[in-house]
């Protein structure tokens, strides 16, 4: 299923980009890995269409640190673009395995991590037990928003 990412992000804003690469130069993931890079992502979206980005697993090598958007001299909401692209990728099944597992855990337990013998541990450190996670409410909300169309929850 193709999702029109431009429904969530105005494509016209990309025309403001003059490819100065301040974003990519600031990107901490680019420093250590062959990530896609915000400048390159914008260029591909403009010249080849966003499908090319959405199908690329390198799209996920973003630590959501917001530095690209914060330093953009043209004030392009780059983080919104990257989120819209990843949302679109998820719809097409391009989801890192570990991220999918964390979300499944969240939907099933109301927490994004496994909790084991926690009450004893907390008591040992003078802390009261945690109330149960609102798993039913969170699952209801997730189903209502259609997340179950993206992954099985």
């Amino acid at each position: 299923m193709t999702i029109k990412i431009w429904k969530f992000f105005q494509r016209e804003q990309l025309f403001e980009c003059y490819q100065c690469a301040r974003c990519t130069g600031s990107c901490p993931a680019m420093e250590v890995a062959p990530a896609l890079g915000p400048r390159e992502t914008i260029l591909i979206c403009l010249n080849q269409g966003h499908d090319r980005v959405v199908e690329d697993e390198k799209l996920w090598l973003c630590c959501t640190c917001n530095v690209c958007e914060d330093r953009c001299p043209q004030e392009i909401p780059i983080c919104d673009l990257l989120v819209a692209l990843r949302n679109s990728a998820a719809r097409r099944g391009n989801i890192p395995i570990r991220l999918g597992m964390a979300i499944e855990l969240l939907a099933k337990t109301g927490r994004s991590m496994i909790v084991h013998q926690l009450d004893e541990m907390r008591a040992h450190h003078g802390l009261a037990p945690l109330p149960p996670a609102p798993v039913d409410e969170v699952r209801d909300i997730l189903k209502k928003t259609g997340l179950d169309e993206v992954i099985e929850i």
């Binding site: 993931a29 890995a33 640190c65 530095v67 890192p96 450190h125 009261a128 109330p131 969170v138 209502k144």
Partner: protein, 327 residues
């Protein structure tokens, strides 16, 4: 001191004020504080499970400085992990917590950078886009909640900075951390997007954490990778990339005189403390950088014992730091 409440407090008690067992021992009445500071403590997923030292030290230092933190037994996930999959789900899951806080008439105080960032951003979006707010509220109706707003959300550090203030903290210090050297790490969502943190701190020249370290009597050191991202955001996608990102800062800090790296976010902790051994092994480095939470440091300066501040749970023992402070 101005009142910090975003909404009028109608006097209804919170559903729960659990989790404060250890606090009573450190209750210290501060008569000079006119307005009582109250907030709902938002623990998030990670802190109350993996970082009990952060939770107890935050509770103890808040109590010591006159901030009353209430627990809310219905708080759930902040929505951060969902953002990459379906951004609108993040808004709804986050708004659920905002609506609960609104019902109590109190602001939210978060310990995690990601929780604070996500809840702040959601409140900002809902308060500025009535159409999005209506869409979110339609979905929240299924669990009997509604968000009108505004509800204020602040990181624990921002409460310390803006409500208690450096001067009041200085007056409360009973055991100055003289001769202690610490390296601050802010974390990305503490400083950015600057649209949300404007007036608090600067993403380019951050200072709040360094100044809050200095007020304890310790020295805050600067180092080349001060503003680097921990890499926690990509840990779920590539451990190799995440470790490579965290490594630089650990190496930098190990070359300074710092006795510990000071954090304010459990995700940064996963990288710098949790992954440190693995990073060192993979890179063939001898890294032993103690990692502590800011409230643990503040707590020491307020005279609270390292035992109560949960230093036993710090994986790389800040032995030198504790030797200087407690002898």
């Amino acid at each position: 001191m101005r009142s910090f409440k975003a909404l009028s407090w109608d006097g209804r008690p919170c559903p729960s004020s659990s989790g404060v067992g250890v606090l009573a021992r450190h209750s210290r009445e501060r008569k000079d504080k006119v307005d009582p500071m109250e907030a709902l403590l938002y623990l998030g997923c990670t802190v109350p499970v993996r970082n009990l030292n952060y939770e107890s030290s935050a509770r103890l230092t808040a109590r010591s400085l006159g901030i009353t933190l209430h627990d809310h037994e219905k708080f759930g996930c902040c929505g951060f992990p969902l953002k990459s999959l379906k951004a609108e789900d993040t808004l709804v899951v986050a708004a659920r917590n905002l609506a609960l806080a609104e019902n109590e008439g109190m602001e939210i105080c978060a310990l995690c950078n990601a929780c604070a960032g996500t809840l702040t951003e959601t409140a900002h979006v809902l308060d500025h886009h009535p159409d999005v707010k209506e869409r979110v509220n339609t979905r929240l109706a299924s669990v009997g909640l509604r968000y009108e707003g505004p509800v204020r959300v602040r990181h624990f550090m921002r409460l310390l900075w803006e409500e208690v203030g450096v001067e009041a903290i200085r007056e409360s210090i009973t055991r100055p951390l003289t001769d202690v050297v610490l390296a601050p790490h802010y974390g990305c969502h503490y400083l950015k997007p600057s649209e949300l943190t404007a007036g608090f701190d600067s993403p380019d020249v951050p200072k709040t954490l360094a100044e809050l370290i200095s007020v304890t009597g310790a020295e805050a050191v600067d180092y080349p990778s001060l503003k680097d991202c921990c890499g926690g955001g990509v840990l779920g996608m590539s451990e190799e990339v995440a470790n490579a990102m965290a490594r630089k800062k650990l190496e930098d800090v190990s070359r300074t005189r710092a006795h510990a790296l000071v954090l304010v976010c459990p995700f940064c902790n996963v990288m710098y403390e949790g992954q440190q051994k693995k990073i060192a092994k993979e890179a063939g480095l001898d890294l032993k950088v103690p990692v502590v939470y800011y409230p643990q440091v503040l707590g020491l300066a307020l005279g609270i014992s390292s035992k109560d501040l949960g230093f036993k749970l710090n994986r790389v023992k800040p032995k030198e730091l504790l030797d200087i402070v407690e002898g």
